[in-house]
């Protein structure tokens, strides 16, 4: 499997660096409740651990603001009883958020290529600064200013990209007592620019858009001071939801790719009303198998030439397909069927039995392909449960609606 580029968008201070350090520190250890962990090279590991130790230490100041562009690369490892398999790699770009808003920065060649890479990500995490969201909810002008000015360049890049998007409400620890996710969602959708972006993305791209509350440090770890700073209280860090954006990227991207391929097929056959044809495809009794076959055919047809319209529209998907068409075709083939079956299994056997089964499957993994399947099971399970507990977190599409479409 190729590398998934999952990048953060957000002005300086929105929490990009702290989030990555927290995510890594949470997932770098094998945990009994998860079928995977994150692996990286020695230097990256030292760097990120140092950043997180500094965050977690109440006697130290927060890490410095990022000054250059840094790429963190991880592989998602599935430990079986024999060996560790690494069916998925993830890359995350960290950078000084100011480059999104500073016109002088945009003149720099390295910054321009950074922006290109952000636009062609497989998944974008738009970090909504919890402090600014707090201001917005309290009706302070700084909150509106954040939406009108600070966030616009991030939204613009999100607009220009073609991939699933997750809005992360960062610093959730500051908001959780006062506001529900639903009320924040309503307030954001009240904003014309934000609403337009979601509507346009839903219409033109159709990829899933989520709103995920995250805290890189957890409840009570820090508090706002009257001067507007962020004081560490001495409470232990207990990150909240930091793994959800990572877990969501693979299923969301694959569902999106699946639909892109279906759209492509619909337009190839020149059927009237492309989207109604997709509907028809999706809701026919053998939808998943059909689309899976289509996917494989199309990928075989377009991969060698790297020229089709799909590829022009979607450089991220193009790169995946060009590098590894067979794996992508396999991942897409029968995707909806598999996801539906998983859900039925889970509902049929109960959560505990399902997780026991996942555990057994993991130990029995013998190939990268099987490891990928275990990851798919694990990720979709976490995501499904997350969607169930946070119905307000789906701004557009989502796993449930994908499966409903596929089930007809």
């Amino acid at each position: 499997m190729e590398t998934l580029d999952v990048h953060a968008l957000g002005p300086s201070g929105s929490g990009k660096t702290v989030f990555m350090a927290s995510l890594y520190s949470r997932l770098r250890i094998r945990r009994s409740d998860l079928a995977f962990y994150l692996k990286t090279d020695h230097d990256t590991s030292l760097d990120l651990n140092a950043v997180f130790n500094r965050i977690a230490n109440p006697d130290e100041s927060w890490p410095e603001a990022s000054q250059d562009v840094q790429e963190w690369r991880f592989s998602v490892a599935v430990p079986s009883s024999g060996a560790d398999f690494e069916p998925l790699r993830v890359s995350y770009l960290d950078y000084p958020g100011g480059v999104l808003t500073n016109p002088q920065a945009a003149a720099d060649g390295r910054i321009r290529s950074l922006l290109d890479r952000l636009r062609s990500a497989h998944g974008l995490l738009v970090l909504l600064d919890g402090m600014a969201v707090n201001d917005l909810m309290a009706g302070r002008p700084t909150g509106q200013r954040y939406l009108d000015f600070d966030l616009t360049s991030s939204l613009e890049i999100a607009q220009q990209s073609r991939c699933p998007i997750h809005f992360l409400v960062t610093k959730w620890d500051l908001l959780e007592k006062a506001y529900s996710l639903g009320s924040i969602r309503d307030r954001l959708l009240d904003d014309e620019n934000f609403n337009d972006l979601i509507a346009a993305k839903a219409r033109d791209v159709g990829a899933t858009i989520r709103l995920i509350p995250v805290s890189s440090v957890g409840s009570g770890f820090a508090e706002l001071t009257p001067e507007g700073g962020m004081r560490k209280t001495g409470v232990r860090a207990r990150p909240y939801n930091v793994e959800i954006p990572l877990v969501a990227v693979l299923p969301d991207f694959m569902q999106f790719a699946y639909q892109e391929v279906a759209r492509r097929e619909a337009s190839l056959e020149d059927a009237p009303g492309g989207s109604s044809r997709i509907q028809a495809l999706m809701s026919s009794p053998d939808a998943s198998a059909k689309i899976g076959t289509y996917a494989a055919q199309i990928l075989r047809r377009i991969a060698p030439t790297v020229g089709g319209r799909l590829l022009q529209h979607n450089p991220a998907l193009a790169a995946l397909i060009a590098n590894d068409p067979e794996t992508v075709a396999k991942a897409l083939t029968g995707l909806a069927d598999r996801l539906l079956k998983l859900r039925q299994e889970r509902e049929g056997s109960g959560r505990a039995a399902f997780l026991d089964d996942l555990h057994r499957r993991r130990l029995a993994v013998h190939s990268e392909r099987e490891a990928y399947e275990v990851l798919e099971r694990q990720f979709t399970t976490i995501l499904d449960e997350f969607e169930l507990h946070h119905p307000d977190s789906v701004l557009s599409a989502g796993t449930r609606s994908f499966l409903q479409g596929a089930a007809g």
């Binding site: 410095e64 808003t101 002088q104 003149a107 962020m230």
Partner: protein, 198 residues
């Protein structure tokens, strides 16, 4: 050798992210002054650093700089505590010189040049502290010419093409002639004047 040293400084304030406050005039003209931010990243505060950098027209530069905690004393008369941004992150001021066509400087010479930048960088920082204008450009600096013994010249694209055309590892004399020609070529177009405030 005669060295041209352009003062530069990069920093942040409570709201604005890293940016050059003062930067070499030719880099600002070419839209390349932001590279100073990316090139001087590190674990602040930094002791004197010398590093080479090549701009987009393949011109070699030496960046000699250090960084200091930006303290309250920089913006008002009293207080030595370090300034922070609105999230509580510490703020540093990076200050130094950018020297075209130079590969390295003797430590003493580099330190002398860098130390001379502080007053100017601090003045600019005081003004910058209140700035909220995302589009405010860096202030252009002109080069100071300093005679520095044992400075080592860097050879640019002209040298490389000359050397590859000749297919040789050329003599020291040829190297210094090419270095001279390159320096002349690049400085035509930007008038190099001695910095009066120095």
């Amino acid at each position: 050798m005669k060295v041209q040293a352009y003062p530069f400084a990069v920093a942040r304030n409570r709201t604005l992210d890293w940016r050059p406050l003062i930067a070499p005039a030719p880099l600002i003209t070419a839209g390349q002054d932001f590279a100073l931010v990316l090139e001087t990243a590190g674990q602040h505060p930094l002791d004197l650093v010398q590093r080479t950098w090549t701009d987009s027209s393949s011109r070699p530069w030496l960046l000699a700089y250090h960084s200091v905690p930006a303290t309250r004393a920089l913006i008002s008369a009293d207080g030595t505590d370090q300034l922070t941004d609105r999230f509580g992150r510490p703020i540093f001021l990076v200050e130094g010189v950018a020297c075209p066509q130079v590969r390295s400087l003797p430590a003493g010479g580099a330190k002398q040049l860098v130390d001379q930048v502080h007053t100017r960088a601090a003045d600019k920082f005081r003004e910058f502290w209140e700035c909220e204008d995302e589009e405010a450009p860096a202030q252009a600096t002109q080069a100071l010419e300093a005679e520095i013994k044992d400075a080592e010249p860097a050879l640019g694209p002209l040298w490389r093409s000359a050397a590859s055309a000749a297919g040789i590892a050329a003599s020291a004399t040829l190297r210094s002639i090419v270095a001279l020609v390159e320096a002349r070529l690049y400085s035509s177009g930007t008038k190099v004047v001695e910095e009066r405030t120095w």
